[in-house]
């Protein structure tokens, strides 16, 4: 830990006060509630625990973290979406924001939220077992194309989950029928990877970080990263575009969101504190240990990202026949 220069801290504090004007005097003057729509110990919880203590210091008020798991995120996200937009309720939002309402499982969509920032984005992957005959994503794709539909089975998460949509989007991008590769729904990436190694499915589309343990153990092989650039932990694995020439990517993301309509000055103060917290060593360490891809996509850019994500998933789900 570097000792902070007291004078600089005071000066910057005074400067922020002067610039932010009267709103800062009002907000925050009482504790903030931070809702996590997932269970203890999961990625959303870990990321929250890494930023909240630092933000408490920045903002000078306690932040109460409330875990509200349930309904694949419907409960907790819903609680954030309907909260009063006064800046005292925020939450750690995940990609389900842009998926659940299409399936009729939630009222909220991307428009229901004020985006502070997207902090984490992980691309999908393409992973086979060690004894699979396919050495590259191109070989696998060729085999999928040349064999009758249904020959290959894939997994990565539950039915209609993010990596299922990742597979469907990829098949559509290749001009294939989305039924070409039947999806085997598993409870998340861990069980899917185990199913892959046990020979139950032919490949998985979960993120490479989620498959890291078995890939490192030599039980599974990463063929491609379904992102716009290579994964930091797997620099030798090509992106899907490098491997097959098709421009395609799919991301799961996590960020900090409040209900729609929070005043701009409150958002700015909050985002400034979040920006400081995410630059800390503590945050970087948690992200590195969890294999989470670090991102910083604040306010308007963040809104654009989740709105695009929302629209894309709707298109994919419709094309794949998952929704009407």
């Amino acid at each position: 830990m570097k000792k902070p220069n007291l004078l600089a801290v005071l000066a910057s504090g005074a400067l922020t006060l002067a610039l932010a004007g009267p709103a800062l005097a009002d907000w925050p003057d009482r504790p903030i509630t931070w809702i996590v729509p997932w269970g203890a110990g999961g990625a959303a919880d870990q990321i929250t625990r890494a930023v909240v203590p630092l933000m408490e210091k920045e903002l000078g008020v306690p932040i109460n973290v409330v875990l509200q798991p349930g309904g694949q995120g419907a409960v907790g996200h819903g609680a954030v979406a309907v909260a009063k937009p006064d800046g005292y309720t925020w939450g750690l939002g995940t990609v389900e924001i842009s998926m659940l309402h299409w399936q009729g499982l939630a009222e909220f969509s991307a428009e229901s939220f004020t985006v502070a920032a997207v902090l984490n984005a992980d691309a999908g992957g393409l992973i086979v077992a060690k004894d699979s005959p396919y050495q590259t994503a191109g070989e696998l794709l060729e085999a999928i194309k040349s064999n009758p539909p249904g020959t290959f089975k894939a997994s990565g998460t539950g039915q209609g989950g993010i990596w299922h949509l990742g597979l469907l989007g990829w098949l559509l991008a290749e001009g294939l029928d989305p039924d070409t590769v039947p999806w085997v729904p598993n409870q998340g990436a861990g069980p899917s990877m185990q199913d892959l190694v046990a020979g139950g499915v032919d490949f998985t589309t979960n993120s490479l970080a989620e498959g890291r343990v078995l890939i490192d153990a030599g039980e599974a092989r990463a063929l491609a990263e379904m992102g716009t650039q290579r994964h930091a932990l797997f620099p030798d694995t090509p992106t899907i575009e490098e491997a097959t020439g098709t421009d395609y990517s799919v991301y799961t993301w996590r960020g900090v969101f409040g209900p729609a309509g929070i005043p701009d000055d409150v958002v700015d103060t909050f985002v400034a504190a979040l920006d400081k917290a995410r630059q800390s060593d503590q945050f970087k360490e948690v992200m590195a240990n969890g294999g989470f891809g670090v991102a910083w996509i604040p306010t308007e850019e963040g809104t654009a990202l989740i709105t695009k994500s929302d629209k894309d998933f709707g298109v994919t789900m419709k094309a794949a026949g998952l929704i009407e």
Binding site: G39, A40, G41, G42, D45, V66, L67, Q68, P69, G70, G71, Q72, A74, V75, G78, Q103, L105, A106, G150, K153, S155, G158, Q159, G160, G161, P182, W183, V184, P185, N186, Q187, G188, G190, P191, M193, Q194, D195, V197, A198, G199, G200, V201, V213, A217
Partner: protein
């Protein structure tokens, strides 16, 4: 070896050691109080584990269950009221010893052979579980489907006297397991439009209801006062145990073996381990006529068996995510809360946590001797505590606990509903364990069936295509056939047997 060092580092933390010592004391208290069960204590402690790292959380559950299962022997011996169901098999025998003036020997045998059984059971856990995990790593949904079928069949077969009641209890659990989105099609089922039920019934809240709230109802409605013990153990507790150890090697070895095996069967649990082991040692004893008259032999065998079974129940829970009994069903809930998914991968991803857990099991069983002797000496005071005074405190803990898991008041309603359901089941002599297994294993059964059907393109014969799946499938079908033949034979017999 590196893992062992890492595990010891995890344990050599004053906080972890404090947790182990406190949960040992709590386990002894809970076990020694008739009406308070080990499963109840574990269910109530789950909210506390929310604030703990995985190692102290697991250490707490392991230590508490080892100690409680032993301590159930104390009131069995002094009052003929078993402290937990696990001691029911030989409470008569131990009480008969007390009446003959041999209470110290009976209690000494309880604690010494509990520790021995526990250690032998742990040896099996440590050697078998990682090997089994290595094999299970090759398991696909076909093998898991049969494994879950086997587990559910076990729950019905060994659960209680009445197969019909077990089966009904299981069906109830399976129905509850259907609630929510957690099905292969991710379609909201039996939620009645409620967002709170989308995630299914909160497992921990349901367990708190079934094991704690229902017991409270029973305590309040049964109302009778517990007699104060007339006898106070004052002599040397451990005197004469060496002699028993030398005289009955087959009993404690066999008891530990039977106990571990039965513990590892889903749904069987520690109480059945004790009953079977007591019956087996009686069957093979040359002094069969002395059983029931205050003879230590059965206590040696069954006392070792129930504590060996504690370790045994953790084997399927850790390796397959299939609980061996009620406590390990709660354990599975805790593992998920801690971000550890039970299954073969846990032995690779969290090897240090698992090894630390093994060390805790050994330590808890060694600690049992000094702690157990102290508990025996203090037992007269513990048994004087009026039980009904504990009821409000336990009820408050139940409510707080259920709420703390999800921060959602709906969990309190779930807990109360399951409390009433558990009470009604128990009062009508329905076993609760099959219902729990139904809730935990129902979604697993459905998921593995559907996944296998998708992989097999709808061809059911594929369930027998992989060698291990075929073996498990034939075993399952053989058990079902036996069950059917048993039922048919009972129907054909003219005079009903006296159950």
């Amino acid at each position: 070896m590196d893992t062992l060092v890492a595990a010891i580092v995890l344990l050599a933390d004053p906080w972890v050691i404090t947790v182990i010592l406190l949960s040992a004391a709590l386990g002894l208290f809970v076990g020694a109080m008739p009406g308070l069960t080990a499963a109840m204590a574990v269910a109530l402690l789950v909210p506390v584990t929310l604030y703990m790292d995985p190692v102290p959380a697991l250490a707490m559950i392991a230590t508490l269950s080892c100690m409680a299962i032993f301590a159930g022997d104390i009131p069995g011996c002094l009052l003929r009221i078993p402290g937990t169901l696990a001691s029911a098999a030989y409470a008569e025998e131990a009480y008969a010893m007390t009446q003959k003036g041999h209470a110290e020997t009976a209690l000494g045998a309880s604690v010494v052979f509990a520790a021995i059984g526990g250690i032998l059971g742990t040896v099996v856990l440590v050697t078998v579980a990682p090997e089994l995990a290595r094999i299970a790593l090759r398991f696909s949904s076909f093998e898991y489907f049969w494994l879950v079928c086997l587990g559910l069949s076990c729950a019905v077969l060994v659960g209680s006297q009445s197969t019909t009641k077990s089966l009904l209890s299981l069906m109830l659990g399976l129905t509850v397991g259907m609630i929510g989105l957690n099905n292969p099609a991710a379609f909201p089922r039996l939620t009645f439009g409620s967002v709170d039920l989308l995630g299914g019934v909160e497992l921990i809240a349901a367990m708190v209801g079934l094991f704690a709230v229902s017991e409270i109802f029973r305590m309040v409605t049964s109302g009778h006062r517990q007699p104060a013990p007339e006898f106070r153990p004052k002599g040397r507790i451990l005197a004469g145990q060496w002699k028993l150890l030398r005289r009955y090697p087959a009993q404690w070895l066999g008891g530990s073996g039977i106990g571990t095996l039965i513990g590892a069967l889903p749904g069987a649990g520690v109480d059945i381990a004790a009953w079977v082991s007591y019956a087996v040692s009686k069957r093979f004893s040359r002094r069969r006529h002395l059983f029931g008259t205050g003879h230590a032999e059965g206590i040696v065998a069954a006392g070792a068996a129930n504590n060996a079974a504690v370790s045994g129940t953790w084997i399927p829970a850790l390796v397959f995510g299939i609980p061996g009994d009620a406590i390990t069903a709660i354990l599975i809930g805790v593992l998920f809360l801690k971000g550890l998914s039970p299954g073969p991968m846990i032995f690779q991803n969290q090897a240090d946590v698992i090894v630390a857990l093994f060390v805790v099991f050994f330590a808890a069983n060694l600690l049992m001797i000094p702690f157990g002797v102290a508990a025996i000496k203090l037992s007269v005071h513990i048994l004087r505590i009026p039980k009904l005074m504990l009821v409000p405190a336990i009820m408050a803990l139940c409510v707080i606990g259920a709420y703390a898991i999800t921060n959602n008041p709906v969990s309190i309603l779930v807990m109360l509903a399951f409390g009433v359901a558990g009470f009604v089941l128990m009062e009508n002599e329905f076993p609760v364990a099959p219902a729990i297994l139904g809730i935990v294993l129902g979604p697993m059964l459905e998921q593995n069936f559907f996944n296998s059907m998708i992989k097999a393109d709808g061809n059911f014969l594929e369930f027998f295509a992989r060698p291990m799946a075929m073996g498990l499938g034939i075993a399952t079908i053989a058990i079902w056939a036996m069950l059917a033949i048993g039922v048919a034979a009972a129907r054909l017999r003219p005079v009903p047997s006296g159950t």
